[in-house]
Subunit: 190 residues, 2 copies
Amino acid sequence: MTTAPTETRIRILDAAERLFMANGFEGTSMRQIASEAEANLAATNYHFGSKEALLQAVFKRRLEWLNGERLRVLDAMEAEAGDQALKPSQIVDAFFGTLLRMGNEPNQGGQTFLRLLGRNLSNPSDMIRTLFAAEYSDVLERCKNALYRSLPEVPKAEIVWRLHFMLGATLRHCRHRRAGSGDRLASFRR
Amino acid sequence: MTTAPTETRIRILDAAERLFMANGFEGTSMRQIASEAEANLAATNYHFGSKEALLQAVFKRRLEWLNGERLRVLDAMEAEAGDQALKPSQIVDAFFGTLLRMGNEPNQGGQTFLRLLGRNLSNPSDMIRTLFAAEYSDVLERCKNALYRSLPEVPKAEIVWRLHFMLGATLRHCRHRRAGSGDRLASFRR
DNA sequence: GTCTATATCATGATAGAC
DNA sequence: GTCTATCATGATATAGAC
């Protein structure tokens, strides 16, 4: 396993996360990342192989944690509900609430990663699109199916549209959030 | 006036609009733009002076039209309403509806500009932020004030939050819209 | 595992002929 | 107004010493 988290590796990931957020992927150079991480330029290429692979590693580290957490929350909810359908607000909270709460998690990048996420989910780059599709498919399928069951009277296409718009609102919130802007999760619970 | 719209100037603007949308600002080179516009590299710098100025020109051309149209729609609505407050759905339509309908306007870039807009409004670059702040302030103030008057029982801060979330949902829609995805404006009219 | 040094190339911009 | 030619800079990536 070559992905053992040596200490420099982590510093590089942290620096890349901050810089990709601030300046975008093309707007960030490997030199900046190495400098910010107080590592050597060649070391960054040694650890990740290429700039693209580094970006993927940045996302993968956080998304694995986030989506694992979401699945864990859904598991707990479903265990409690028995064979009853979950409430829509529960499913929304498992998906969006877990995302927003990630900003308060120590060791998970806090607001920095959320803002990077909001920024890059608006990016039509093929690499990023396929990466997200792979990391998200499990959670998204499960949430969609839970919502179908929870709202049997609503057409499935309508549910997908609502998810789509909520995602847009939430990601914009992630990007533009200021410290102390408070908890707006309540807006989603109707 | 050096900004007379010569024909090459327009071709360069169109090419830059497409490429900035597809690859982002840093991800697009002046050489690509010149090639796509079938113009010379030096001509692009002659007409706009710098890459940054070209980006600003791309946005300015469309935003001036869009915000002018929004103000025109508001004027017409208020003339009809006399001294009565506009309905919330009217104001929403003037702001968001005009934006979405822009995608069907000939000679206004169609979907391309809308997707560029959605992409760059998530960009924290200082240049872009200040450009948008300048171009949008009139329309935004007027819509906000109309909403305050239209919904006197709703706290002003709550109205701002709702605008914020609607903007997120709308811009995401602009970015990811596919041909034939239909009219979802109805979702906003409650 | 980490760094020095460097190869190779693309970029934004401009000077000056026509 | 438009071209050719060129500059200085900074980009990714790698070969090879330690």
